[in-house]
Every structure is written in structure tokens, then in C-alpha cells.
């Protein structure tokens, strides 16, 4: 394989899927969240599309935390991190590789979340599948850009899950608001919001944090 970020991502995915826990855990947690949330609606009432979209992105956010903790802990066992840093390649390749494998894992988890929303939260109206999928991909991009950058800080840290979520969740607020708003649009509640302007916000977020990650990643991942 010529492209090193791809090779890195391929290695990560092989290890995560071989072990299983790294993907089962976020899927399970997300499904439990969706199920528990379904209990909040009284019998016979429908869950509003916006609530369904919110719980979908909440489940995804938790998945981001778990996924990137797993991905960065892969280098933890024998300090392979040092090996990667000494390799003749830009440090940013590591960020890219992790973001790519994180994206694949996140999408895998979302494949389970979507039907769960239909089943537990009774959302069966989808305005436009391609539009919805495109939106999910676009927002996932922003999530993995931030996740891959800040996930790197959790390496070798004991209380990493909780610490990471406290730091990452508030940073993701603009993206999550956009996701919820656009999600409710695609789930048929498309009255008030304009997906167009939200789209602009998501693109701005992605561009800003992709750029920031490229500049800042070496500081977080490097040897001190």
C-alpha cells in the first residue's frame, strides 16, 4: 500500500474488528441510549423528529469518544507511538489515518443507530435518503476531525473516557445543533429550519477544525 494514512487506517481497522470490543461497545451504548430514551414518551404518543435526531447524534457523540479512545490506545501497548513519530512521514498522517479509521467505525455504529431510531422511536418518514446520508457523512467528518485531534491526548491516561467527553462535547455543540436541526428536517419535520444555512455552518466548522487539527496535532501527539 502506497498511501500511508490509508495503511495506518487499514491496520487500525484490522485490529479493532479482530478484537471486536472496540466496535461492539459504542454500538451497544448507542442502542441502549436510544432504547432508554424511548421510555421518555408516554404510551401512544409519537416521538418528535427533533428528539429522535437529537438522540441519534447523542449516541454518535458517545461513539466518537469510545472509538477514538480505542484507536489511540492501539499504539499504547509497546509505545508504537514513538515508532510512528520516528517514521519518515509527516505527523499529520497519523491524524489522517486515525480520522479515516474513526470515520469507518463511526459509520458502522450509525448503521445500527438508524434502524434503532426507526424501531424504538417510531420514525419512519424519511424525506430524502441521499440528502440524509450526505448530511450524516458531512457531520461525521467534523466529528472525526475533532475526535482524532483530541483523542490523541487521551493516550496513556487513566480516566480518559470521562475526561475526553467533558472536553469534547461542548466543543462539538455547533455541529450537534446542525445535526439535530438537519436531522429533524430529513425526518419530516422540515418546516422552520433551513438546511442550506446549517450546511454552511457545518462546512465552516469542518474547514476550521480540519485546518486547526493539521496545525495542532503534532503538539498533542509529539514527544515532550
Amino acid at each position: 500500500m502506497k498511501c500511508r494514512p490509508l495503511a495506518l487506517a487499514a491496520k487500525d481497522l484490522r485490529l479493532v474488528f479482530a478484537d471486536g470490543a472496540g466496535i461492539i461497545q459504542p454500538v451497544l451504548l448507542g442502542l441502549i441510549l436510544v432504547f432508554v430514551f424511548s421510555l421518555s414518551t408516554p404510551v401512544g404518543e409519537e416521538v418528535p423528529a427533533q428528539a429522535a435526531a437529537a438522540i441519534f447524534w447523542l449516541a454518535t457523540s458517545f461513539a466518537v469518544i469510545l472509538v477514538f479512545n480505542t484507536l489511540y490506545s492501539l499504539e499504547g501497548a509497546n509505545q508504537a507511538r514513538i515508532g510512528l513519530l520516528l517514521s519518515p512521514m509527516p505527523v499529520q498522517y497519523i491524524w489522517m489515518g486515525k480520522a479515516l479509521s474513526g470515520l469507518v467505525l463511526l459509520l458502522t455504529a450509525q448503521i445500527f443507530f438508524l434502524p434503532a431510531i426507526i424501531v424504538f422511536l417510531g420514525q419512519d418518514l424519511m424525506v430524502s435518503w441521499p440528502g440524509a446520508l450526505g448530511t450524516i457523512l458531512l457531520i461525521d467528518w467534523g466529528l472525526v476531525a475533532v475526535g482524532s485531534l483530541l483523542g490523541a491526548m487521551s493516550q496513556g491516561h487513566s480516566a480518559r473516557d470521562s475526561l475526553l467527553s467533558v472536553v469534547v462535547f461542548p466543543l462539538l455543540v455547533p455541529l450537534l445543533l446542525a445535526g439535530i436541526s438537519m436531522g429533524s428536517f430529513f425526518l419530516g419535520e422540515g418546516t422552520g429550519g433551513e438546511p442550506g444555512s446549517w450546511l454552511g455552518l457545518v462546512l465552516a466548522f469542518n474547514a476550521l477544525f480540519t485546518g486547526a487539527a493539521l496545525v495542532l496535532f503534532p503538539f498533542i501527539y509529539g514527544e515532550y
Partner: protein, 232 residues
């Protein structure tokens, strides 16, 4: 030998900071006069509008503190000097304190004016989200044991947090457009007495901020050096 260095350590700076804190405190006490007596009661909003005179400076100076965190974080990554990191940490603490005060006073105001403790107003929401981010920043600083790593990570977070502000604000505003807001836009011009009061309050809290920041910065600096001495 090293002890001497710490002792000789710019004590004058510390006393200047102390003087600034005192001056700020006095000025703040003086501004109470302006708030209660000098400024007239606003016609439509009534007495409660006077919360504004403390709410606004707290929010502003809080934001400026967060901006200092941003600049100091960049400075740290460029120069790797611990002092920059200590400045960022001090500014984050004070910024968090101020935004807590701004949120609390804002909430009190909202309770009287709109009969609700909380409303989805873009400025309010932005302030709350910033509060969460910087609270996370301070928690992070506490919980990473390796000091060199902690400084690096904190600096990165300090930069990202501030870059996020415009996006948070924009998204909060767009979010509001979907939900009809309880909020009406704020009234037009200020009377001259009101303006004076605002300026007095902003300046006095500014003095206090500068003093607190300088003091805390020097204190953190000495604290870490003393800690270093103990380690050897």
C-alpha cells in the same frame, strides 16, 4: 542558591498586582454609587435593568480573559515558555469566574423580566457553552499528571476553544430562529447618566481583572518553581 532566586523574584510585580486589586475593589465599591443613585431607573424595564451594569462588564471581561487564554496558548506553542502556560491558566480561571457571574446575574434578570430562569438566547447560550468548555479546560489541567504533556494539550484546547466561539454563537442564533424566542431585542439608546455608569463599571472591573490576573499569574509562577525545588 536557588531559594535566593525565588525570594528575589519580582516581588514588586506582586505588590503592583495587589495595589491594582485594591484599586479595582475600591472602584467597584464606588461604582455602586453610580448604579444605585447616579443612573436613572429605566422606563420600560424598571429597576431590574440595573443588573445590566454589572452583568455587562463581567461578560465582557470574561470574554477578554478567554481571548488572553487564546493568545497565551499560541504563545506557549511558539515559545514553549512555562510562563505563557501559567498566564493562560490564570486567565482561564478568571474568565470562568466572570462568566459564572455573568450567567448568574443574567439568569436573575431573566427571572424578573421574562419570568423564566433560562431562555435560549444566542448570547446566553454562547456564554453557557463557553463556560462548559473552559470548565473542561481547567479540569483537564488538573487531571493530566505529566506537566509537559498537560501544558501542550491545554494550549491546544485553549486555541480550539476560542476558535469555536463564532461558530457557537452562529449556531445558537440559527437554532433560535426555529424556536420563537421569549426575548425581545434590547432597547435603543442609553441616557448619558446610564452611559457614564456603564463606563465606570467596565473600567473598575477592568482594573480588578488586571490586578487579579497579574497576581494569579505571578503566584502560579512562584508556586511551580517552589514545587520544582521540592522535587530535587
Amino acid at each position: 542558591m536557588k531559594n535566593m532566586q525565588v525570594n528575589a523574584n519580582k516581588n514588586s510585580n506582586l505588590s503592583l498586582a495587589g495595589a491594582l486589586v485594591l484599586a479595582g475593589g475600591a472602584a467597584l465599591a464606588l461604582s455602586q454609587y453610580f448604579i444605585w443613585i447616579h443612573a436613572p431607573v429605566e422606563v420600560t424595564m424598571g429597576l431590574v435593568q440595573k443588573i445590566f451594569y454589572l452583568h455587562l462588564p463581567a461578560a465582557w471581561w470574561g470574554m477578554i480573559c478567554f481571548f488572553i487564554v487564546f493568545c497565551a496558548s499560541i504563545g506557549f506553542l511558539l515559545r514553549r515558555s512555562p510562563a505563557m502556560d501559567q498566564l493562560a491558566a490564570s486567565a482561564a480561571e478568571i474568565g470562568l469566574l466572570y462568566s459564572t457571574m455573568a450567567l448568574a446575574t443574567g439568569s436573575l434578570w431573566a427571572r424578573v423580566s421574562w419570568n423564566t430562569w433560562w431562555t435560549w438566547d444566542p448570547r446566553l447560550s454562547t456564554a453557557l457553552i463557553m463556560w462548559f468548555i473552559y470548565a473542561g479546560y481547567l479540569v483537564l489541567r488538573q487531571s493530566i499528571d505529566n506537566r509537559r504533556k498537560m501544558r501542550m494539550v491545554a494550549a491546544v484546547l485553549g486555541i480550539m476553544a476560542f476558535l469555536n466561539v463564532p461558530l457557537v454563537f452562529l449556531s445558537a442564533r440559527m437554532w433560535r430562529s426555529i424556536h420563537p424566542a421569549v426575548f425581545a431585542s434590547e432597547g435603543g439608546g442609553l441616557e448619558p447618566e446610564m452611559l457614564t455608569t456603564v463606563i465606570v463599571c467596565v473600567v473598575s472591573l477592568g482594573l480588578l481583572t488586571a490586578g487579579l490576573l497579574m497576581f494569579r499569574f505571578r503566584q502560579k509562577n512562584i508556586q511551580e518553581r517552589v514545587l520544582d525545588l521540592y522535587r530535587h
